[in-house]
Symmetry: D2
Subunit: 255 residues, 4 copies
């Protein structure tokens, strides 16, 4: 196999950033070349800047890398962003404008008109949107909210075959989804928390873009209705979702 592609991670010390490190470290195509984080971590060794919460130990090689600023002067042309949404919007745009390929887990650009909200198994054709982005050589691709992904993978073959009138989804989401320190143990032990900030809004909107169809260089959003109720449960990893659907009546489908 030829040389691996060097990549950078934005927000590398956060919980999403750590997961990128974990998933990319032994990747067959990619090689972690740049770890970028906020000022607090600059010039520190990654092992000193990070509060490593992934069960698999941090490798010495990655731990010894020096953390850089989130500025578009790194050698990797591809960056994976796990930035907090408070800063992701500006930093990711800045990277894209300077010619970088930004793959983002943050919510900021998800609903932008020309930005694919991508689940490779569901809507790979949405990648066409990037031709119409205005970032020159740079571009931004986003992935959906965690609980949206599972839902869309289940809905995709159904909407294609039968059409969807409406979807009710109730989630029981793991605490790891809230980052670290995230959910206080006093709140979740012997309890269910029937609220996750902004989560229901994302689940009721994102699938309509993901399951929409490209039409004239834009996405026509899917038109079914979604009602989402999101709960946090005392589970470390892995979301459970209970979905009820109502199919389109035949007549409507034919249209």
């Amino acid at each position: 196999m030829k040389k691996k592609i060097p990549v950078g991670i934005l927000g590398a010390t956060g919980s999403v950033g750590q997961m990128f490190v974990n998933l990319l470290e032994d990747h067959p195509f990619f090689e972690i070349n740049d770890l970028c984080a906020s000022e607090r971590s600059h010039s520190k060794k990654y092992s000193e800047a990070v509060n490593w919460i992934i069960p698999k130990p941090l490798s010495e090689k990655i731990g010894n890398m020096v953390v850089k600023p989130c500025e578009p002067n790194i050698n990797s042309r591809i960056v994976f962003s796990g930035l907090d949404s408070k800063v992701a919007g500006e930093i990711e745009s800045n990277f894209a404008k300077n010619g970088y390929i930004v793959i983002s887990n943050s919510k900021n650009h998800r609903m932008f008109e020309n930005v694919p909200l991508l689940i490779p198994d569901v809507n790979p054709d949405h990648l066409d949107l990037i031709k119409h982005q205005k970032y020159g050589k740079g571009l931004i691709i986003t992935n959906p909210n965690c609980s949206t992904i599972g839902l869309c993978m289940a809905l995709k073959p159904i909407i294609d075959e039968f059409g969807l009138d409406s979807v009710n989804v109730v989630t029981m989401q793991a605490i790891s989804g809230a980052g670290y320190p995230g959910v206080a143990s006093l709140d979740i032990i012997d309890n269910v928390i029937p609220f996750i900030k902004d989560e229901e809004e994302k689940m009721e909107l994102e699938p309509l873009k993901i399951l929409g169809k490209i039409n004239n260089n834009k996405i026509d959003f899917a038109e079914f209705k979604i009602s989402a109720q999101c709960n946090r449960v005392a589970v470390i990893n892995g979301h459970t979702e209970c979905v009820s659907i109502r199919l389109l009546e035949k007549q409507q489908k034919k249209k």
Copy 2:
């Protein structure tokens, strides 16, 4: 206040029976007079027969009562039944036939034509059914499945005002609902169990009887559709339910 009414508890050593003991011990109207259980417990002191799992300690007075057989020769005319469904059918019928008033938490008689499936806040008029029971002076009244009760209390004012087309309900149920020893800790710690035997069937049927209307001495079952998905979560007491409803369209309602 005048003399309290003596009552008996059938299946008094089980987890439901213990809850009856707990709720009835200091009751303003009732007085526990008879504790009845299976052969294993006969003639033992209640404190020796029971594996008491209620946080509030067993009182000395109740603990010293001698456990009797589940036979219709006790002095209390009212009995509360927490019997296991394997034996509840026969024993409860036997008590009713012998003139006892049986209030049962077991599922066996719930769907019998003349047996009220009662939530006092929702369908007190269903008590009229007892006039048509064939037990002579005896009678049987049942209460619904635990997760059905909360659902029906929420649906009652809605169906009265708007009419219901369909209901989706997802439950996150406490481990106490499975009795003792019930759910194995290896199954539920750091987990959600997406299945509770027979529970979805009960939740999809019982509300139709409870929210039905008495017509000509029978209940016309309510006609909306229910889809229930029941989960067990690592919570000790208290069920959480997420409900989505679709109202009847106006036209249908007018009918």
Copy 3:
């Protein structure tokens, strides 16, 4: 009963302060008259300043009280302090110097020479120390670390009767002891945390003062050895402690 004694609570919005509110609200002798907290809460209604985490709901009466600064100009002469140890030292001294009776749960003054470290069931005679405090009409009394209290109550009759050579104690402490938000759920679900900052140090020192004897207006510390190992477990309330002791040999005891 005559008029209740008005009292104030310092650090009233914190988790210890809330517990003081909870315990004092219906107290037979005391009446909550002043709720004092940091600048962030000044002039707010208590219900708006506090993130109430006690299961029993906050009463309207207490919720409507206006939070005051932690300054010694309140009418209550007795104050209970649940202040964070970062500020408790200075504020409590200031109250004492200005004539207030300070009862503190904070660690700052516990080891001061003339300050009783009091468990009423164990060392009520240590109250004599307050005569020698230099605060004029004011005074400071402290209570021990939570896990120290249970240990000392068990050790007191043993040391009196047999003498103690050494004590090994291992604790399994509830998450409520860490305040709110306190322990991250990702750290404690499916885990034991074998470290609680400063806890072992307190458990190895405080009992020696508490079980010491007043001699010439000072406390001669008890002389046995303590080895403490403190763990956090996934329990909401209530610490468990496993204690092993070695008694003094008879010869030593006689001395």
Copy 4:
């Protein structure tokens, strides 16, 4: 590498037996050749006889093996026993008498005079005992109780270098140690169970054999004192142990 050694597993459907399957399936030296269990499982496919609770899925190859009786007529000469202690004594003796090498996790033979209670890192020399067993070509080797193993590995270098006067150990043990269904969830969620049947007795006795010395074909038990307090905590896998030791005084050590 040459042909793998065929082995059998006694009690293959239980939780210990499943762990043997899990650990031996891809073993470099051994090959699972015989799965033996109680009458209830005879002649069934293993996948049908077992309630598989190990996270790693049961392989098709093992799942298709037919379960045999626990009788000494199998081809594997080495058997690993995860039998319940109610039956392990007789069955294991029977295998040994018939020429099999029995490696047992059950407690039954642990304290027999000529049976090694083996931790390979601690007392490999105890294997010499097998020369004096009376089973002909067969033999029995046992491994200690789970919480004993960790304790002995920590104590071994200390007793060798300094000598031990006494040991206090407090355990916080995982629920997996109780098998399946094992600990009821109602007992352990939001709780610590300060009792594990027979566990303290094992921890106070087994280390004295393991850390003893072979003398004249027998083991002279180690002579220090052990006090064990065993707790169950809401952890799935992995025991935590807090150990305090008192070394031998120099004078005694010299002896």
